[in-house]
């Protein structure tokens, strides 16, 4: 199994925020969801996931509460805050602009 390249920091933040934009998830589920949605291309390393979650929480984009997981255990669920939602919108717009520009260059050059 080839190990996928480490995600760039800003990209991971964006992915996490996007993943919890619609429902609140715990850390393991976030990693699973990213892997699933990317058809196993993006694998989130736990060593990057938790520091990223803490960083986002510190910045006030996301917040977390202890809750009960699908397998009836105590887990920490993350969700977007109002500033986080605004932030996500902005980042998503930036990202789309950037990736469109990159693919344009790749196609035409």
């Amino acid at each position: 199994m080839t190990r996928p390249a480490d995600l760039v920091q800003g990209t991971l933040d964006l992915l996490i925020m996007r993943t919890i934009a619609t429902e609140q998830l715990h850390g393991w589920a976030i990693a699973q969801r990213i892997q699933l949605l990317s058809s196993d291309v993006l694998r989130v390393n736990q060593g990057s996931l938790y520091p990223a979650l803490q960083r986002l929480e510190r910045q006030g984009w996301i917040t977390a509460d202890w809750g009960v997981s699908e397998n009836n255990r105590r887990a920490r669920f993350y969700r977007l805050t109002a500033p986080g939602r605004r932030r996500l919108e902005k980042e998503r717009a930036d990202w789309e602009r950037l990736s469109a520009a990159i693919s344009l260059v790749m196609r035409l050059a």
């Binding site: 850390g27 803490q54 105590r74």
Partner: protein
């Protein structure tokens, strides 16, 4: 909102750290378990699932560690940990800690205390509107500073565009009768505009109206807050009430706020000043203190030029005042003129003391850092960064500094309270002295500077830590070690250099104090008590009536049992000067040049009461009155300078112009008296009979017949038996007056001597520390020396010279410093030169002997070392 969030996060990270760690651990445990479950669901065996999950997750510890480093305030937590480590180090070596704390406390405490005095007295603005626009004007006649006359103040007012307004005032005694005991009030008779010039208004009622200096309208009075509360029970309806002052009714028009204490806190009432018509034409001269507010467009230097020009015009138009000049000073400068030299000296002294403390601390911490060389080297080898070691070295000084600073400021607070309660007489603005916010900010800044100074050595040490050299030779003879030893020796020499000016200054002041104590005042103070009184002119109108009244007072007092002699003078010795100009008739003829002399009015027994020797001729009698020819008694100094080699009796001089300029005959010569102060002796003295020059304010001097002293209560009763409304004040013994005049000098001397002592102690401790450390380092060398034939004496001499040489080098620099700074002392010494060689060399010798003694103890140890043991110990 965002800031609140950030602060909350910082708070959690600093003080809820365990909670965050525990949460994170829980979260990761959950993650791993969930992964195992998922693996099992995919068909792995439980053991393989667990192994796979662990592998994928990686090290939990590393993540925890990273999370902690990522959190806000991580560096702050590091600093707190270093400081806490410093506290634990203190606990492990309490002697080191206590020494450090004591040094910081001494340095910061003395600096804070002295600075709070300097700040309160010299720096705090005067409590008036735009105080930096206020000036005081003085007159100088023939080199003697004098108060201007009313006409001078009017001339100043007429200068265009220089002053907004000019106010003048003088001190008056106000005898308050009615509503209980007659009370003498310290009052001010001021031009009505004094309050508008200062920019203050009344707390109750109003200040004076412009025209209340006109005769007939002047019977109004303003009360001080203290008087209003003390005597009138803070009666809010007091405005409009009539009280009797000096025998005439005065309407209270206002009460001043408690902050208004002008000219000083002792003043209780203000009345309008009514000028006599003759004062404006200079036919009559009375002297006033003059204060003015600069015009908006004027500056201090411009006002000085204009006023100097005015004085020059006056000098040319006036025949008697050819050498007249006027000076303008800011009011604050004027108020603190006399104490500035003392405060400057004390400030310089504490600055030196603080420098010594800084160097001492630096050496102390540096020595400890050396002792921990091995630890530093090891941590460096294990991957700690040099910056990290340095940061820790600095943070470790914090507990000592914080504790020392707290103790120092507490000591200063206590010292300042004690000082304010017992402030020496004559120190202005004492009520302003406190540990105010600027003072505390100042000492905090000093503490930070001290901290930096103290951290230099340990930080440099940490920075220069080198694993290989230290491990190779145990950090003993490496070159960097030698560099540090040199730095420490320079530190000790610097302490000696800073201590020397302090010791020399203390020695100069001690010598001066001894010289002052040896001064012959010209009178015998023992057994003499004094009290002041002022005659009421509404009761005793003419001069002869006043003189008769004085005669009756003296009769009554003399009749009191236990009183040997009683007399009156208008000014008791050591209570200020009173200068007049007379023209002596010498062999060369009547002098055109006037001579400044101290003048006194006395009753016949004055010289006997004060114990002033009559050298020639006779004293006054009651027959030397208004109808008799004018006579005077001169002191020996007049006799010597004016009529050297001949008898002064029968010689003549012309009395002051403003008294009529009549020829006055000398009938007696008395000993010279220190009239103004024990240390100042500006002028020769001339005495007048109280019946020929009558004054309203007099001091009664009473000499007791026997040991128990003057029965002052009986004396006061005797006065009241003559006039029940006569109030008396300032009851003091002559010895107390002398003590009071010496109080400030004694306090300064005491402070300087203690500063010098502390400096000496610190220098001794510093020398001992460095020499003792050096001996430990060089024990092997001494062993080799002894093995090669050196005697114990040789080693002792070597070590003592090692310590003393630092003191010699420091002393040389210290001597240069002391000589360069001797100007600070020039106004404070008495009977000794500011560069007194004995003081300078004596201080140097003292420091060198202390260095020798401090080196002797480690030298003994070095000499006693057994070469066999020290050499084998390797």
């Amino acid at each position: 909102m965002r800031i609140i969030h950030q602060l909350l996060m910082l708070w959690r990270s600093l003080f809820r750290s365990e909670r965050i760690d525990a949460d994170l651990a829980d979260e990761m445990r959950f993650h791993v378990e969930r992964e195992i479950e998922a693996n099992v669901a995919r068909g792995m065996s439980p053991a393989a699932a667990r192994r796979e999950a662990r592998l994928r997750f990686g090290s939990v510890d590393t993540m925890q560690e990273q999370s902690r480093d990522d959190r806000p305030g991580a560096s702050m937590r590091q600093v707190l940990r270093d400081i806490w480590f410093g506290v634990r180090l203190l606990g492990k070596s309490p002697v080191f800690g206590l020494t450090g704390v004591a040094i910081v406390a001494l340095g910061i405490g003395t600096a804070t205390a002295i600075f709070s005095v300097v700040h309160g007295v010299m720096l705090r603005p005067l409590p008036f509107r735009e105080p930096d626009r206020l000036v005081s004007v003085w007159l100088t006649r023939h080199g003697v500073r004098n108060l201007p006359a009313a006409a001078d103040a009017m001339d100043l007012r007429r200068l265009r565009g220089v002053f907004d307004d000019v106010a003048l005032f003088e001190n008056v005694n106000l005898n308050l009768v009615g509503d209980g005991e007659p009370q003498r009030l310290e009052g001010v008779s001021a031009s009505p505009n004094l309050f508008s010039v200062l920019g203050v208004s009344a707390a109750l009622g109003r200040t004076f109206a412009r025209d209340e200096d006109q005769p007939g309208r002047e019977h109004v009075v303003l009360l001080s807050d203290a008087l209003w509360r003390g005597r009138f029970n803070a009666d809010a309806t007091i405005v409009g009430r009539v009280i009797r002052l000096n025998g005439s009714p005065h309407t209270i028009v206002g009460v001043m706020p408690p902050s208004f204490q002008y000219p000083s806190s002792t003043y209780q009432a203000w009345v309008p000043l009514v000028l006599e018509p003759g004062e404006l034409t200079r036919q009559v001269t009375d002297n006033y203190r003059v204060v003015a507010r600069l015009a908006p467009s004027a500056t201090l230097s411009r006002s000085r030029q204009e006023v100097a020009a005015l004085a020059a015009r006056l000098a040319t138009s006036n025949t008697t005042d050819t050498e007249l000049s006027m000076t303008v000073d800011s009011m604050l400068d004027d108020a603190v003129r006399d104490v500035r030299p003392v405060l400057a000296l004390l400030l310089a002294a504490v600055a030196f003391l603080l420098l010594i403390a800084c160097v001492n601390l630096s050496n102390l911490f540096g020595a400890r850092a050396t002792a921990r060389s091995g630890e530093f080297a090891l941590r460096l080898a294990l991957g700690a960064s040099r910056a990290r070691l340095m940061a820790q070295a600095i943070a470790e000084t914090v507990p000592v500094l914080a504790l020392g600073g707290a103790v120092g400021v507490a000591m200063a607070e206590w010292a300042v309270r004690a000082f304010v309660a017992n402030a020496p007489a004559g120190l202005p603005r004492v009520e302003n002295i406190s540990l105010s916010a600027p003072v505390v900010a100042f000492s905090l800044a000093l503490l930070v500077i001290t901290g930096f100074a103290a951290s230099i050595a340990p930080a440099a040490h940490a920075w220069a830590s080198d694993f290989t050299t230290i491990m190779k030779d145990g950090g003993r003879s490496s070159t960097s070690g030698r560099g540090r030893a040199t730095a420490r020796r320079i530190g000790v020499a610097a302490q000696v250099a800073f201590a020397l000016p302090l010791l020399a200054g203390a020695s100069l002041l001690l010598k001066s104090a001894l010289n002052v104590a040896r001064v012959d005042p010209g009178f015998k103070p023992d057994g003499v008590a004094t009290l002041a009184l002022e005659v009421s002119r509404s009761k005793h109108v003419s001069d002869p009536e006043v003189a008769d009244y004085y005669g009756r007072l003296i009769e009554a007092v003399r009749a009191v049992p236990g009183v040997a002699s009683a007399s009156l003078t208008n000014r008791i010795p050591l209570s200020g000067e009173q200068t007049n100009q007379v023209h002596f008739e010498t062999a060369a003829g009547a002098a055109d040049e006037p001579t400044n002399v101290e003048t006194r009015t006395v009753t016949p027994d004055y010289f006997a009461t004060l114990g002033i020797r009559l050298l020639a001729g006779r004293g006054f009698t009651d027959h030397d009155d208004a109808n008799a020819p004018p006579v005077a008694i001169i002191d020996e100094r007049v006799a010597r300078t004016m009529w050297p080699g001949e008898t002064a009796i029968g010689k003549r001089f012309r009395e002051p112009e403003w008294r009529g300029g009549r020829w006055t005959t000398v009938i007696g010569v008395v000993a010279h008296v220190r009239a103004v102060g024990l240390e100042v002796d500006p002028l020769p003295q001339v005495y007048w009979s109280y019946r020929q020059w009558t004054q309203d304010r007099m001091v009664l001097a009473v000499r007791s017949a026997a040991e128990p002293g003057v029965p002052i209560a009986s004396v006061a009763n005797a006065i009241r038996s003559v006039d029940p409304e006569q109030s008396v004040y300032n009851v003091r013994t002559m010895t107390a007056i002398i003590d009071r005049s010496l109080a400030q000098r004694q306090l300064t001397t005491l402070l300087m001597a203690s500063f010098g002592g502390v400096a000496l102690l610190l220098a001794a401790v510093g020398i001992y520390g460095v020499v003792a450390y050096g001996v430990t380092q060089r024990l092997r060398e001494f062993g080799i020396r002894v093995a090669l034939g050196a005697t114990g004496r040789d080693v002792t001499r070597l070590v003592i010279w090692n310590g003393t040489s630092m003191a010699v080098a420091g002393s040389i620099i210290g001597l240069v410093l002391a000589i360069a700074l001797s100007g600070v002392m020039s106004n404070l010494v008495y009977g000794v030169a500011p560069r007194d060689l004995a003081s300078l060399l004596g201080s140097a010798a003292l420091l060198m002997s202390v260095a020798a003694i401090a080196s002797y103890i480690p030298a003994r140890r070095a000499a006693a070392a057994d070469p066999g043991v020290t050499l084998r110990a390797e």
